[in-house]
């Protein structure tokens, strides 16, 4: 697909502590406090917002934000960052209420993927793919790319030696690699796969299917988030293009993903299914070279950054990466802080630092502090991120959903909305379904908007808070 819709779901970690760091509220209770204004507005902890995104409380008391459908990856990054801002504001409000109640408790929301005992939660990428494409053929080509792309877009982190292993804690490209158990499956928790086969296209199922990639780390850097989508999209386009593709299927995807995480040179031999070997750098370079002809003029910066990321690993020169890519920013920061404190990477101070890096608060977050000092990228303007909090992407169906939610909220009209269907909750109201994720105009939605605005008759007077 030349033009593709994608979306990003982010589950946030949640902790509520007293000043001494001890737990003040259980996650369930803290989540309830966090969602108080959301429930007051939508009478539910599962709502769609004006920017057409979905905000909800997921299993395990994880606040979750799913961007609206985007067909431009910078727009997707803006929508994702808008979600951080929305949750950061909810967190500030909750903390103000807790302070007022004399609770002496502070909620921290962490855009990361694992808690202190190893419970994992996700950052799920969704790509719309053509139903006619051979989905069974896709993983063979996509998996080697996904297994190794952590050397570019991993969030970085520290792993401790496993049971029966020796040696110090070490820096890795992605901690999530240790939480992957299968290449492709329908599971999401117990035996978490790299590609999940859940097939909910949120569109006409005869035309589209959904590719659900759940191997990614939650990324703070706008460059890292953008590259996750832009490079994967290019690879998908090449696979869909039907030409001869790099045959790099690995002998054991799960063994490989863990080896790649730990090999900061990217050079370690990875056995292939065909009986030879490759390496993380080799797989990424071959895919980059292969997709280059598929990239248009607007995608040249993606190719350049992808190459710079590969080079940072291949040569060990982190100059560019250490101010652009999450793993390299962290690698430098953790090394500096460990040296300054005279501790190794396994010290709890470094784990605390890792959590602070992913803290979405402008006040407590270390990523924001790095941005303020020009040591982490800030590609999108403040204005654009702020605008994305209340403005849906204009080039997809999100535009329609955003208009419905905005009008209904403004006029206090009760409504129910999901990815494909919009409906007022008044008696006799007919649902409007939009099955084309690319649709930006619809007569039925126009009629629904007229009904909301009361221009087709008397409005129901049921104002929501």
């Amino acid at each position: 697909m030349k033009r593709r819709v994608g979306g990003l779901e982010t589950e946030f970690g949640l902790v509520c502590v007293r000043e001494d760091g001890s737990r003040a509220l259980e996650p369930e209770e803290a989540a309830r406090e966090l969602f108080r204004p959301v429930v007051a507005m939508g009478r539910s902890s599962n709502v769609f917002l004006r920017n057409a995104s979905r905000l909800y409380l997921d299993v395990g008391s994880h606040p979750e934000y799913a961007t609206a459908e985007c067909d431009d990856w910078w727009e997707l990054v803006a929508q994702d960052r808008a979600g951080e801002r929305i949750f950061a504001e909810l967190t500030e409000q909750a903390n103000a209420r807790l302070a007022e109640a004399g609770q002496g408790a502070t909620i921290h929301l962490l855009k990361n993927n694992v808690d202190s005992v190893g419970n994992a939660f996700g950052s799920h990428e969704n790509f719309l793919v053509d139903r006619r494409g051979e989905f069974t053929r896709l993983p063979r080509y996509l998996l080697p790319f996904l297994v190794t792309r952590q050397i570019i877009t991993g969030a970085g982190g520290v792993v401790h030696p496993g049971e029966g292993e020796d040696g110090p804690a070490r820096f890795v490209f992605s901690r999530r690699s240790d939480h992957m158990w299968e290449a492709v499956s329908s599971a999401t928790t117990r035996t978490r796969p790299i590609i999940n086969t859940r097939d909910e296209p949120h569109g006409d199922p005869s035309r589209f299917r959904r590719l659900h990639v759940i191997v990614g780390d939650s990324t703070m850097s706008e460059v890292s988030t953008h590259l996750r989508f832009a490079t994967t999209d290019l690879v998908l386009r090449a696979i869909e293009g039907g030409r001869a593709l790099p045959e790099l299927a690995l002998h054991d995807d799960i063994a490989a993903i863990r080896a790649v995480a730990r090999d900061l040179t990217g050079a370690e031999p990875l056995p292939t299914a065909a009986g030879s070997t490759t390496s993380a750098v080799d797989v990424q370079q071959r895919w980059l070279d292969h997709v280059t002809p598929f990239a248009d003029s607007e995608e040249q910066d993606v190719l350049e950054q992808w190459q710079k990321g590969i080079d940072a690993v291949r040569t060990g020169d982190r100059t560019w990466a250490a101010t652009h890519l999450d793993w390299a920013i962290k690698e430098r920061l953790f090394t500096q802080v460990a040296e300054r404190r005279g501790v190794d990477l396994g010290d709890p101070a470094i784990e605390r630092l890792d959590l602070a890096y992913h803290d979405i608060s402008a006040e407590h977050g270390i990523f924001a502090a790095l941005q303020r000092r020009g040591q982490a990228p800030q590609i999108l303007s403040e204005e654009r991120i702020e605008a994305a909090r209340s403005t849906a992407p204009t080039t997809t169906r999100a535009h329609l959903r955003g208009q419905v939610v905005a009008a209904a909220q403004e006029l206090g009209v009760d409504h129910v909305v999901d990815w494909t269907t919009f409906r007022l909750t008044r008696p006799g109201a007919m649902p409007v379904q939009v099955l084309d994720p690319f649709a930006t105009e619809s007569d039925e939605v126009e009629a629904l908007l007229a009904e909301i605005r009361g221009t087709d008759g008397a409005p129901d007077s049921a104002p929501v808070a």
Binding site: T323, R341, Q375
Partner: protein, 62 residues
């Protein structure tokens, strides 16, 4: 993606521009700024790092 980026004013040349500015700023970033950051990090880490880490336990998601 190749669609006309109707809503992507921050896309394209502007990005590389800001990128270059960032890289330039990086080169000339004063040692003072780096020290400030490490001081700021110290203040986060001093306040009961280990207890905070242990407090962060959630059921798995997804």
């Amino acid at each position: 993606m190749s669609q006309q980026s109707l809503n992507a004013p921050g896309h394209g040349p502007e990005d590389s521009g800001e990128d270059a500015a960032l890289a330039g700023g990086q080169v000339f970033a004063s040692a003072q700024a780096a020290d400030d950051l490490l001081d700021e990090i110290d203040s986060v880490l001093e306040s009961n790092a280990e207890t905070f880490v242990r407090s962060f336990v959630q059921k798995g998601g997804q």
